[in-house]
């Protein structure tokens, strides 16, 4: 059971990383793009704007957390691996 949990945790860390809100926001922005593209619009501009905002919020969130001394989880894709 522990191995399965570790396996799942590894893939979650690998694909989603330590900011699930950023990942979820990307999916939401793509959903909005798909909805708008279904109509007469060609919303090519939406995703770049959304990504810029998501990136800005994500880095500022971590910077604020580090300044406040919040302990952040280790990065599972970087050494040490044991």
């Amino acid at each position: 059971m522990n191995r399965i949990r570790h396996f799942g945790q590894f893939w979650y860390e690998f694909l989603v990383g330590d900011d699930w809100m950023a990942a979820l926001s990307v999916v939401a922005a793509l959903g909005a793009t798909a909805l708008l593209a279904d109509g007469t619009l060609n919303p090519w501009w939406l995703l770049p704007i959304a990504v810029a905002g998501i990136l800005a919020m994500s880095v500022r969130r971590e910077a604020a957390a580090r300044r406040a001394g919040v302990e952040l989880p280790p990065d599972l894709t970087e050494p040490p691996f044991e």
Binding site: L15, N42, L55, V59
Partner: protein
């Protein structure tokens, strides 16, 4: 033509930066535990990664292209933003830079004190750590090769870019016998993060039904846009770091 060149360069850079990190682990283990088990572990990891690419690559090309671009583009965008985010935070001094010399010293210290159990005539600690190091660092490269290659229909080219980096880093490491601490790892990660995110945006939006102005050339525009955003964020974070945090008055 342009996406193909960017694809090969991205695979090469991503592979180079991951292989530099894997090389540090392999060198530290080889120096302290001997080369046989370490080399077998690293070779087994490369073989396993080759199998992953060989199995997943052709399977993905069977998926309809628009669905493939939406799914792969989304995953690549989320993945690329992780690289870019960390590179921005490191460039701004919020996160510590990855120090290969420090990792090398730590690995040497740990491997000197680790147990010397032998399994199938292999130093088990050296074999498993070498395998894990190369496999886990290489998994990101395999992921990039498979996603980039299948979406653009050039798995062979993406794999060649990654393979070239493996040969270059491996050859330099074999001659130098020291961690490649002078390689500007964060700059490489920054570049790869920008490229993965740009391709991720391009493909996922196309899969969602968007037509990019300028078609394939839009990728260059997206790269320029992301670079501008990233440098702007670094400048903002540095400015924030210089600004003293206001102290909260107790009101008494």
């Amino acid at each position: 033509m342009t996406p193909t060149v960017v694809l090969v360069v991205s695979a090469f850079l991503a592979s180079a930066v991951e292989m530099v990190e894997a090389l540090t682990i392999v060198l530290a283990l080889g120096v302290t535990r001997g080369w046989r088990s370490v080399t077998i572990g690293a070779a087994a990891a490369v073989a396993a990664l080759t199998l992953v690419v060989a199995a997943l690559g052709p399977a993905l090309t069977q998926v309809p292209i628009s669905a493939l671009r939406l799914v792969v583009g989304t995953v690549l965008l989320v993945f690329g933003l992780q690289w870019l985010r960390k590179a921005i935070l490191r460039s701004a001094g919020v996160r510590a830079l990855h120090d290969e010399d420090e990792v090398f010293a730590r690995e040497i210290d740990e491997s000197r004190h680790a147990d010397r159990r032998t399994v199938a005539r292999l130093d088990w600690y050296a074999f498993t750590l070498s395998f894990k190091g190369v496999f886990l660092e290489g998994l990101e490269v395999a992921f990039i090769v498979v996603t980039f290659g299948s979406t653009e229909g050039h798995i062979g080219l993406a794999a060649a870019g990654a393979g070239a980096a493996l040969i270059v880093v491996g050859t330099v490491g074999a001659f130098v016998h020291r961690p490649l601490s002078r390689v500007p790892e964060n700059s490489l990660k920054f570049a790869v993060g920008v490229m993965l995110s740009a391709f991720g945006m391009f493909w996922s939006a196309e899969g969602a039904g968007v037509s990019w102005p300028g078609e394939d050339l839009a990728i260059l525009g997206l790269i320029a846009f992301l670079l501008a955003v990233a440098f702007g964020l670094i400048a903002l974070l540095r400015r924030d770091a210089r600004t003293p945090t206001p102290t909260v008055s107790s009101g008494r």
